[in-house]
């Protein structure tokens, strides 16, 4: 039960709990998610999924299906628009990628990939029609295990190779805009015989990489080291498994497509759909007021929504595509699993002086995932190795496409590095908290590799403070000396640190103060219920000095003139949108002051804003917001949006125009300076209890302390702390993919097989969170996001606690299920297969 209170001084609203405006609709069932919409004449579509892990369609015979009464149309990959180049708002050209995922395909790259869709009057008819379709297949080689495809002579998941390689970006030509990121290329990549021999010994070969970076002098670092730890670890592939699948419904009206979908970003889904369909983004309307979970898998919704969109165009009727839970397993994204190996050099006092990190990521068939690189960056930040080399191989497998999942790459990096920290502390006889404290980032700590000798740095880091606070709350020192074993149960404690990027910059804010005196705030952020979408706008009320009740937030429908905003993903919102909100509030303040000066004399600087009024400093004449709004309408121009600010992005400009004339319109882009990359940090402390006769264990206690700057909405924050930590626990406890390697087929498609944690699997009575409460110096209200770093901390603190309870020779991969523990206790050897994927 969180009894935690956050004390942010001097704020009227920030740091206080309140009820968000979406709650009543949610508790009464009136909130509408994508599948809750109906349209007259709506058809349903169903998907035909590939039975093969890799194959090519030779011939489709759908004649029997199309002859059925009630069947309206079939959509195949041939009817999808070809991949098209794309120009971003910043004018960067993203070239067309022929290898990119599309909604349907004639060369499925994983079992379950959608091949075609059938629209019919109802689902039953569509399903019967699918069963009547005959496809002739050409079978192609496949691999679902990255280790298998790396073996000499191993099969390749794509016909042209098995590893992604991203060429370095071309240097910008003088006088031209910088070129977009180069297209990833595919290579055929195999281990040498010697490396394969090492693999067969159960060791992950540190082969030649397909990407690498470094800083410092790693050789010199190892020379300095008193202890070298060489450890490998395997992390699971885990599906996002949002409660709401990526169901979508679409219809066309007057050349515009209306898409009801589930997305983390209403605003950013518009250009994504425009790009997938090769149409102008002004012809796309996205409606998504409530999103049933995303966790990174629905940043711009999913490309599968193009199926109902194109079918509805083809049959000229609304089409609903209900995505089933099994289909969601295929197209719903997942975190890539890692095979990682760390060679780490420590001095006697525990300082990490050299780190050689090597990872193999299982990236599925589409696009290189950023997880690999992120894992190295986060490890370089969390444990500040003096010298480091990071190398990775981004492997292509015939498994469902991956996507960012809360703390993408960071969680895996932490999970691979934490056992090394743990082992080093034990070997050196150091306290686990102490060794992390010694190596913790502080201030403008470095992150990532060096380019021309220079590394990036973060905005701020207060990890030592987080560790200290956590150790105190957890009573670490006290518990360290408790008895570990009692009868058939053993207890252990563990600590882990984690970090991740926690905020982007440069987005727009937009609101109108209307003649009713209320502030109508527009948001293009998806509503995932983390409430950052709403919470960030509390800054507007805070800056303008109005009660929150005077603010109305509009979201979820791009026909309602929304600004260009960040997605509710990557922990961006609370940072990016408090900045944008702040900038926009300042714009409103400026306009209010100007109007007041115009009407009441003096200069704008003579006026102050507060209490719903703009008034002369020190008291005296003023205008209410209602009056100022009416004046703004009269004044027109920039005051009511008839003059569009230059700085804001294309979408915001259109929205400003759409809202013009309704009141005092404030619109601004976040142009605040920021020195460094914004990251948040969590120190996690766990206690576990293991039943030595069954291998079962429970997390009996957990403390998480966050270094996130200013906490804006403590209750929502606490929910994120628990929720994201729990996602990490899931990775430690039971969540995974299982594949039959002979057929390349998934076996754990159902919840009862893939095992996301239930309420009885997590320490719902023994969880505490806290924040260090030091505002970030590089952002106006000092707030950073919290959605990512709890994951790695949650997973690794539990795994480290298991090591404390049972010793080091138990497991080499996560999740650690009871069979692994029991086998290890029984045989005295680690109870898991060291390297096979998806078991």
């Amino acid at each position: 039960m969180p009894t935690n209170k956050v004390n942010i001084p001097n704020y009227r609203l920030l740091g206080k709990n309140y009820t968000t405006p979406d709650m009543v609709a949610k508790v009464t069932g009136k909130s509408k998610y994508a599948e809750d919409f109906r349209a007259e004449g709506m058809l349903f579509c169903k998907l035909l999924l590939s039975p093969l892990p890799h194959g090519r369609v030779k011939r489709i015979d759908a004649s029997a299906a199309l002859a059925m009464p009630g069947v309206k149309a079939i959509l195949t990959a041939d009817e999808l628009p070809p991949p098209a180049p794309f120009i971003t708002d910043d004018g960067v050209m993203i070239p067309a990628d022929p290898r990119a995922e599309r909604g349907l395909t004639n060369e499925p790259l994983y079992q379950g990939e959608p091949v075609l869709a059938v629209a019919a009057v109802d689902e039953l008819t569509a399903a019967e029609a699918i069963e009547k379709i005959q496809i002739d297949w050409e079978r192609l080689p496949f691999a679902v295990d990255p280790m298998v495809t790396l073996k000499p002579g191993g099969p390749n998941a794509r016909t042209d190779g098995n590893v992604w390689v991203v060429p370095p970006p071309a240097p910008p030509k003088p006088g031209e805009k910088p070129a977009g990121p180069p297209l990833p290329q595919v290579q055929d990549f195999k281990w040498t015989d010697a490396e394969y021999a090492e693999f067969k010994q159960g060791k992950l070969p540190m082969s030649k990489p397909s990407m690498e970076w470094s800083y410092g002098d790693i050789e010199a670092g190892f020379k300095k080291a008193d202890l070298v730890v060489d450890e490998a670890f395997v992390t699971p592939n885990t599906s996002h498994q949002c409660m709401e699948t990526r169901t979508a419904m679409a219809y066309w009206q007057n050349g515009k497509v209306f898409v009801h979908c589930s997305t983390q970003s209403t605003a950013q889904t518009v250009p994504a759909i425009a790009r997938w369909l090769s149409i102008d983004q002004t012809n796309v309307v996205v409606i998504s007021e409530y999103t049933g979970g995303g966790f990174g898998s629905k940043v711009t919704s999913g490309i599968s929504l193009t199926i109902p969109v194109l079918l509805s165009k083809k049959v000229n009727a609304p089409v609903m595509m209900r995505v089933s839970r099994e289909e969601e397993h295929y197209i719903g994204r997942a975190r890539p699993g890692f095979h990682g190996r760390m060679k780490a050099g420590f001095t006697k006092d525990g300082r990490l002086v050299a780190l050689d990190m090597f990872v193999v990521t299982d990236g599925g068939p589409y696009g290189p995932q950023g997880d690999a690189n992120s894992s190295g960056r986060i490890v370089s930040l969390c444990y500040t190795p003096e010298n480091m080399r990071w190398r990775g191989v981004n492997v292509i497998t015939n498994t469902p496409p991956r996507g960012a999942q809360s703390q993408p790459g960071g969680a895996q990096g932490v999970m691979i590095m934490e056992p090394v920290m743990n082992k080093a502390a034990n070997k050196l006889g150091l306290d686990q908290v102490a060794i992390r404290r010694i190596n913790a980032p502080a201030g403008k700590a470095g992150i990532g590799g060096a380019i021309k000798g220079k590394r990036d740095h973060v905005t701020s880091a207060f990890v030592q403070e987080a560790l200290d606070k956590g150790a105190e709350l957890f009573r670490w020192n006290e518990r360290k000396s408790q008895v570990k074993k009692s009868g058939t149960k053993a207890r252990g404690i563990g600590v882990a640190v984690s970090a991740y990027s926690a905020g982007s910059i440069g987005f727009d804010g937009l609101f109108v103060i209307k003649p009713d005196g209320k502030i109508y705030i527009q948001s293009g952020v998806g509503n995932l219920g983390t409430e950052s979408m709403i919470d960030s706008h509390r800054v507007v009320a805070e800056v303008l000095g109005v009660p929150w009740e005077q603010c109305v937030v509009t979201w979820g429908n791009t026909a309602k003139h929304l600004p260009w905003t960040c997605p509710s993903g990557g922990s961006q919102t609370i940072h990016a949108m408090t900045r944008a909100a702040h900038a926009t509030a300042m714009d409103a303040k400026q306009k209010l002051q100007e109007i007041a000066a115009m009407d009441l004399g003096g200069t704008p600087a003579d006026y102050e804003v507060g209490g719903g009024r703009v008034f002369r400093k020190g008291g005296g004449a003023g205008l209410t917001f209602a009056q100022a709004a009416q004046r703004a309408i009269k004044l027109g121009g920039k005051y009511d949006g008839h003059e569009v600010p230059e700085t804001v992005s294309r979408m915001t400009k259109a929205s400003v125009t759409g809202l013009a004339g309704q009141g005092l319109l404030a619109a601004a882009k976040d142009k605040y300076k920021r020195d460094g990359i914004t990251n948040s940090y969590v120190a996690g402390f766990a206690e576990v209890e293991v039943d030595l006769e069954t291998g079962e264990y429970r997390i009996v206690d957990y403390v998480g302390v966050a270094d996130v700057g200013t906490v804006i909405h403590p209750r929502a924050f606490g929910g994120q702390m628990f929720g994201r930590t729990s996602l990490g626990w899931g990775h430690a406890l039971a969540q995974k993919w299982v594949y039959d390697q002979h057929y390349g087929a998934p076996l754990a498609k159902r919840f009862y097989n893939s095992k996301p944690p239930t309420i009885l699997d997590v320490p719902v009575n023994n969880f505490k969170w806290a924040a260090v409460d030091i505002p970030d110096p590089e952002t106006p209200v000092g707030a950073r996001g919290i959605g990512e770093p709890p994951v790695g901390a949650g997973a690794s603190a539990v795994l480290n606690a298991l090591v404390d309870a049972l010793g080091e020779n138990i497991f080499r991969r996560a999740p650690v299920t009871l069979d692994i523990i029991l086998t290890a206790l029984e045989t005295g050897k680690p109870g898991d297969d060291p390297l096979t994927a998806h078991i």
Partner: protein, 273 residues
């Protein structure tokens, strides 16, 4: 009626998995129909066959008892028979409504059968006259004569048989085919189940290869139902009973020999075994 059952493979391919088990009844009934038909034919329709007479000087050389099957051959035959019955019962009884744990008995019997066949191959090829069981030119020529005569057409009288009558030889041919089919497929099928001999590996072959292997095993298996029925039937027919006895005691007597066999084609001496 379906002869083969197909199933959807995990890759969505239609592959054969085994024969339709109604074929058990089909073959059982076919076997029964054949032997009833044959019995009726022999009893009511068949004309007595006439053969070329045996020359007396040749007949004089024939001893009183002629060894037909060595002890080893007889042992082989009866072990094989026992294995065959065990195989048929373990295979088909559970399919026709008498469930029991049959798999282990089945493959053990299969191994016995395979071993006995291997023994037989070596024994027959290296210790006996391997050609004695295969039809020769005379057999084929005589078969024509017998056929013509049975149809009432004019043809010279056929000669008496060598060691084995043509029917016997033809039966052996079919048994060789079906026997090799079941044992060979059966041997590989042991990889599909758990045995003490090797790691269970149902993926030794592709889905399609396995499927046809099961079909062949099944077809040969149900074929054997009819073949064994016929074999037993002939074994107990009075005119063949001497041969059946020889499979127990090893020899036939002179009269039987002279009635059915041609001493020129089956050269026997006192010392012959």
């Amino acid at each position: 009626m379906e002869i083969i059952e197909f199933a959807r493979s995990p890759w969505g391919q239609d592959v054969p998995i085994h024969i339709s088990f109604t074929l058990i009844w089909v073959c059982g009934i076919a076997g029964l129909a054949f032997l009833i038909g044959h019995a009726i034919y022999v009893k009511f329709m068949a004309k007595p066959e006439e053969f070329e007479a045996t020359l007396p000087e040749a007949a004089a050389k024939v001893p009183a008892k002629i060894a037909r099957h060595s002890l080893a051959s007889r042992l082989f035959h009866w072990i094989m028979a026992a294995a065959m019955f065990a195989l048929l019962f373990t295979a088909f009884l559970p399919k026709v409504g008498f469930p029991f744990a049959w798999v282990t008995y089945h493959w053990i019997a299969g191994l016995v059968l395979t071993a006995s066949i291997l023994f037989h191959l070596i024994h027959a090829n290296f210790f006996l006259d391997p050609w004695a069981i295969w039809p020769d030119k005379t057999d084929i020529e005589d078969a024509k004569r017998r056929l013509l005569r049975a149809r009432g057409e004019a043809a010279p009288a056929p000669r008496k048989f060598a060691k084995y009558p043509l029917e016997n030889k033809m039966y052996h041919c079919i048994i060789v085919l079906t026997g090799l089919s079941v044992t060979l497929t059966g041997f590989f099928m042991m990889f599909r189940v758990s045995t003490p001999f090797f790691t269970r590996n149902p993926y030794l072959f592709g889905d399609m290869t396995w499927g046809w292997m099961y079909v062949l095993h099944g077809l040969a298996g149900v074929g054997l139902i009819a073949l064994i029925m016929a074999h037993v039937y002939f074994a107990i027919r009075p005119e063949k009973f001497a041969m059946t006895k020889s499979m127990v005691f090893g020899s036939i007597d002179r009269e039987h020999f002279l009635e059915h066999h041609d001493p020129k084609r089956w050269v026997v001496t006192e010392s012959s075994k």
